[in-house]
Each structure stands twice: as C-alpha cells, then as structure tokens.
Amino acid sequence: MAEFLITTVGLSEWLAWTVTAVIAAVLVLNVIAGGALVFIWAERKIAGRIQDRLGPTRTGGRFGWLQSLADGLKLLAKEDLMPEGADGMLFRLAPYVSFCASFCAFIALPFAFDFIGCRLNVGVFFVVAVLGLEVFGVILAGYASASKWSLFGAMREAAQVVSYEVPLGMCVVVPVMLAGSMDMVTIAEKQAGWFTNWYLFHDPFTFVIFWVYVTCAVASVNRAPFDLAEAESELVAGFHTEYSGLRWSYFFMAEYGSMFLVSAMAAVLFMGGWNGPIPVASLLGLSEGTGDTANYFVRLLGMFNLLGKATLGVLVMMWVRWTLPRLRIDQVMTTCLKYCTPIAAAMFAGAMLWQLFLPGGLVPGLDRPAGEIREGWLEGPGGRGAAAPAASDEKVAQVISSQVNP
Amino acid sequence: MRGPAFLEKLEAALPGAVTGRNLEALDPWIEVAPERIADVSRWLKESSEPRFDALECVTAVDWCEPDPKKAAKVAWQPRIEMVYHLWSTAARVSLVLKATLPRWKNDTPGELPEIPSVAGVWRTADWHELEVFDISGVNFIGHPDQRRILCPEDWEGYPLRKDYEMPLDYHGIRGR
C-alpha cells in the first residue's frame, strides 16, 4: 500500500509508510475494540431475535445502535471492586494479559493481500501460539480473585485450552501442509479463484477437519457450549466472578477479539481468506497489471470479503451459544481427547495421502492449480518476508534435485 | 387388611402400644404411647399389611391457651400432640398416628418434651422432625443431627408454641 501511496498519490516516502502504518493500526484496533462493540450489540440483537424478543431498541435511535457504547460508559462509571483477600497486582494485571494476548495475535492476521500488521512467514504458528497465551490471564484472574468459584473457572480453562491446543494444532497443520507454507498470505493466495479452490473443498478430509477446527476453535475461545470457565449456572461467573467495571470489560473484549480471530483464521485457512466464493476482481478484469489503483481497489474488496467471512463465523458462534446447553467438564475433555484429536489425526493423515496420490484433485478442471491466477502477487511488493515463499520454494526444489541426483 | 381388623393385628403385634383411638373422626386415628412410636412405625413399615412405606407429614399441635381467662373455660388438657400421616403407596391407603406429649418435660418450662425419632424408619422424617423441633420445640431422641432448619441457628424460642412471644430484638433488628 505504501508503494501505491508513493507512486500514485505522490507522498514522500516516510509519510507514505507512516500513513500505511496508521491505517493498519486503525484497522487492527478497530477490529478488536470497535469490533467488540459491534459484536456485543450484534450478540444482543441476535440473542433477542433468537429468543423471540427485540433486544435493544432505544439507545441511539433505531435498533439500539449505541447500546454497547452506553454499556461501555456504564462500565467506566462502575466501581472497581477488588476482593479483600485478592492478590492485588495479579488481579489488576490479569485482564490486560488476556487482552494483550488476543490483541497481539492480530498483528499476524492478514486482512487482504498486504493489509497486514506484520507479515510473518510463521504466521499461523504465531497466531495459534499467541492465542494460547490468553489462558494466562484467565488463570491469573482465577487465582488472584481469592474466590473458589474463580479458581474453579481458572482450572477448567487451563485444562480445556491446553487440551484443545492439540487438535487445533493438527487442524491448522492441514492447510499449512497443502499450501506448503505457514505464511497466512501465501495460504490464502493459494486458494484464489472460485470457491472450489478453497481448502474446505479441497478433499473430503479437509472438509471434515474444517468442522473439527470449528469445534476446537469454539472451545479454545471459551464460547458456549464450551464456556466452562465462566459457566454461569455452575460457577456464578467463573474466573471473572469478582471483576467489575472496566477490568471486566477487558475480558469481554478479549473474548470477542479471539472469537473474531479464530473466525478469520478459519476464513484464511479453509475459506480462501480474502478470495471470494466468486472471483469478482478477475471477472471484472482487475487482475495483475491493471494498475495500482485497481490493485488497491481489489485489496479493499478482499478486506471486506474477509471481514464478511469472519463476521459470519462470529455470528455462527452466537447462534450456537443461544441454542445449545453447556457440556460438563469431563464431557468437554472427552470431546477433545476421544473425538477431536483422533479425528484430526486421521484426517491429517488422509489429507496427506490425498496430496501425495491425488495432487490434482478428482476433477482436474475444477481445481485450478494454486497460484495460477495471481502468480505475481505472491512475490508482492517489498517487505522482507514477502518475496520469500515463492523464491524459497523454487530453491528448495532446486536443492533437493541437486542433492538427490548428484 | 383394613378396618378394625388392622388395629387388632397391630395390638396383637405390639401389645400396649396403642393407647387410644378414634375411628369415627374425619381422618380416623390411633393414639400411640410416645415411647413406642418408633417401634410402631417400624412395624407399620416393615411387617404390617398393607405396609406404610411413605411418611407424608409430621406435625406437632400445641394445645395450650395462654390467656388465663380463656384457659379456665377450655375442655382439653394442655399438651403437645404429635401427628404422623402415613401412606401406603402399594395399597394407597393412609393412616394417622397421634402421640401425646407434655408441653414441657417434667413440667419444667424450657425443657423440651421428648419422643423417639422415626428418622431411622423413614428417611424423610429427618427434615420433618427438624422442622417440628425448630418451630414447635419437641426433642427427637435418636435423631441423627438435630438442629434448627428454618429459623437461624441462634434463634430463641419455638414460634409455633401458643405461648411464644416474638423477641424484642434480634441482632439489632427490631422484633416487635
């Protein structure tokens, strides 16, 4: 984008980079903070509609647009309580630990081809790793609250998240294997074109593992029916029983942030990221070489595409939450260890074999070879990670052939 | 086996346990000597025909007139009457047992009258007897864990006694 600003708009270089950075920062911040507000409002409206009522209607004119803002103001005004026996420092720190973990993972999340905070060539790995850190905030909150209910919540969360990281990791590895890269941009670009190119429809194994991923993702962000850590009918409010006001809202933002994040991950890994079900851009003739403005437009389009998919994921999570009862902790663990993990492992092996023996897919014409559409984009403009994957793929092949046939 | 024959069986099995009867009342009842109540209950539950496997209700009725003027006119003696409502799920018939206790043990106000607990016979009697102890003031001998159940642990007096007076003050809360 910086190049676009420099060459087309004609800004000086440092200003162009700064503007790019600001836009990226605003994007990331908006998704997690503004997004949380929107999602909270949406959750209330959706819950309301699902439950045959209206949800918020008055605040901010029609539809209760400003309900979450009003709630936020109320939370700001609320007294910050801390239990007497609490470990003050840890109690205060815990919400921020949770929030930061959820927030940091957004750095590596691509919104469109180069709309990304920091393109890492281990992007997927990074996001999964950082998301796993959220559990620390919860454990600390549970421990520091000096409340038995909170401690129960923290222990459940620890057990649950640590266990679900295993199948989640396996699910994530499948698209990584298919794309041959852990770079999320590369993974998404390899699925460009029609929706038949999505890894979701790559082969039966990926289709199954997508649903395993959905299950594990819902569990790892603690949403119903896996919201054991805050199970309100058992543990009062679980790990955040003792929290109020702004600190409590940080947990909330972290939850919605992670929800969005895992949904966006699902979109990037299995549903083509910013590449739509229909390649609108290439149908319009806006492909590589039609100029920077066109490129920029295509990327904006892609960003909305990804946001749309991720939002859809979040909405599905809400739908599930307002429909299903909660599992019991032993059932949650059983689901993970007895169902998700073996299924994920089997599907992983299956996808691997499929890739080995049927690399072209069952119907060769339907499944266009990856990267054919916008080959040039993989090399992309600037940035030290950007040029690498394609280049190193080539080199790897070269080295292997040289070593295998000396 | 129903009717007077049932009563005869009971008297034959536990001679001397039945001290009175009223078969013409709305709910016909038999009166049992208080100290035999547990034995009678056990027999009714385990050996009688039909068996009374369910205890529905335990009640204590305080017969006492605190107003001395009215007390002179009443025909009955001051006493505590224990009432047990039994039920047979198989035969679907009921039985009412009554037992008469003095209002205070040895007529010393403050000392609770005593009756054997039937919690060992029907487990539901556990809570019902606790309630009677709590609000009517009857001591159940052999009850596994006798404590206040409805009133606070440190409540004084037995509210369903007719001569009960609400305390003036409970932990700084005005009573009357």
């Binding site: 819950a47 009918s233 009062v236 599992l327 032993d330 | 496997d53 369910a54 029907w122 509210p159």
Partner: protein, 402 residues
Amino acid sequence: MAQLIDDDPRIIEFDVRTDEMLVNMGPQHPSTHGVLRLVLRTDGEVVSEVEPHIGYLHRCAEKIGENLTHRQWIPYTDRMDYLAAMNMNLGWALAVEKLMKYEVSEKARHLRVLIAELNRIASHLVGMGAYGLDLGTFSPFLYAFREREKILDLFEEACGARLTYSYITVGGLTADLPPGWLQKCEAFLDQFEPIIKEYHALLTTNAIFVKRTANIGVMSRELAIEYGCSGPVLRGSGVDQDMRRDGEAIYTAMYDGYAFEVAVMKDGHYPRDHEYPPVPADAVLGDCWHRFFVRMLEVVQSMDLVRQAIDRYSACKGTIGEPLKLTEKMPAGDAYLETEAPKGQMGFYLVSDGSAIPWRVRARSSSFSNLAVAPELCRGCLIADVPAIVGSLDIVMGEIDR
C-alpha cells in the same frame, strides 16, 4: 463392607494428594432457584457431599394461619408455590371443605379443574425453562416464559392477578369466568400444542441435554418413596402414583368423568409414547432426564384435561355459586388432605377448635421432601451436576420455607 467400598463407583480415587474444600453455592447463586444455600464439600470438581441450608424465605405462614380465618389465609397459600398459586389455593380450599363436609357446585368443580390444570402447565413451563437455564441454555427459558405469559394473561382476565391469584377459595371460586374467556383459552391451547415439539427439539432430544441429564442423579423407586418424594420426581422414578387418581375421595371426585393417564413409565413405556420422542438409550429410570420428561408429558396431559374441562364447564347451566363467608365457623376436629400440585403432593393439615380461625395449620410441601433427597443424589457427582440434579427436582423455595 470392604466389597462395597471397592465396587462403589461413587468412591473416587486420587492420584495426587488433594484437599477437600467447602464451597457455598448460594444463597445468591444463579441456579439455586431462589434463596437456597447448598454447602458443597468438593475435591476439585468432584462433590463428595451436599448439604442444603433452607429457611432464608421463612415467613411464618403457619403461625399467621393460626390468627386468620380459613378464607383469609388463602392469599398466604398463594405465596407458597407462587408458580402454581391456583393449585395451592385449591389444596387449602379442599382441606377446609373436607373438614366442613362442604361440596361445591358442579360448575365450580369443572372450573377448578380447568384453572388448576392450566396453572400446572404454567408451572411446568417454568420448571422446564429454568432447567434449561441450569444446563446453560438460555433460549428455551424464554420460549417457555413466552407461553406462560399467555396463560398469565388468561388468569389476569379471570381474576385480576398474574401471580398470586387467590382465585379458588373455600366454597368455590371468587368469580365466574368473563365472557369470551373460553374461546381465548381454546385459542391458546391450539397455538401451544405444536410448540411442544419445539421444546422437545431444543431440550428433550438435544444430544448435549441428554448427555447432561441421562444417568445423572439416579433415584431408585425405593429411595424416592423412602424420602417421601412426590409428583414428577416420584413418577420419574417409575412409581405409579398420582393423587388425582389415587387421592382421597373429596379430591378425586373433582376429576370424576375426566379421562387421563398418569404419566409414568410402565413396562418400559410411557403412556402414548409413540407421540413423543423416544427415550434415549443411556437414560435410566429415575434420572434427571426422566424427571424432566414426565413434566413434559404432564404438560400435554394437562392440556387434554383443560380441553375436557372446557367442554364440561360450558355444558353446566347456572352459576358457580357463592364462596363461604369469611367468618364461617368450622366444626371442631382435624383434617388432612393431599392434592396433586405441579411440584408434587401438597398436603394441608388443619385443626379446628370450632371457631372460624384454625387452631393449627400445617402445610406439607412437596418441594420440602423433594429437596431433602438432594444430598443423596449429589453424592459423588461433579459440580456441574449439582444444578442439573437440583434443577430436575424443580423446587420452589417459597413452598419449602413457607
């Protein structure tokens, strides 16, 4: 004894040295249905002992009853099981009528059946919805309340109140139905009938719901009788007992000519079970699922009874008659009567010395006995099972503490 310890699945073995911990569930807790306090002794997630503490809602109703005339006490019965106040009114009114050997008019009798069964539906809807809430699903609760509101609307039109009705009273009812009420009631039943399928889809047959309730808190029929359980809790354990059929003459006479089958599993089948979802494979008679299912069946059963009552009521000519005077004297003596309230057998015991004011009033509440069994059921379960078990007993604290 040693054999018992080794074989009992409720004995938990620990790998790590752990300490037991006492946790207070309630009196302020989202799933204790009012102000119930459960003291849990837990080891991690495993509950080894539960001790209910009651009395937070004690309002001395029995003492108050010794100072009011029989009809004046009717509003206090409203506040016992406030979710089924009509049935409470009915229980007391019938107990007094039994003592006075009074018989209400035919029309009043059918109206009583109509109202009481309608309130049974309302009560079971709350029990069902709140049970979903206990298991962490919110929507069925609101679906249940939506329908209950319609019943409350009907009640409001009939007697002016939405919760504490005091409608059924000694000697009849306070007022006859307003014109057009029956049509509204029938319209409600017609639109309510298909909704029950929705409840079955959301709860009864939901895989997670079944996982959470089947084989949890299993109560044998012997245990249920031993603890004096009643109502759906007793029938959920397979005991075929319903006071509407098995009770005393004065109560069962009310249902004379009504056709209904007691909702209990006989020989592995519920009555008309082809119309309902099948019993899940892992459900055991006497577990939470069966208690819940019996309630669902009774909703349908009550709808049937309401329909029958509407027919009979509208066939009756004349008025429902006047209730007794407030100061009508009762004969000396005592009377005990149990009626089948939605939560179980509600017994009223009444001792009279010949005046209009009872000498002693005793309310034997079903929830009181039903809750007493909770410690037995919760032994060795997980924390999450405690709300599931207590919720399946469907208790109302107003009735327990009185």
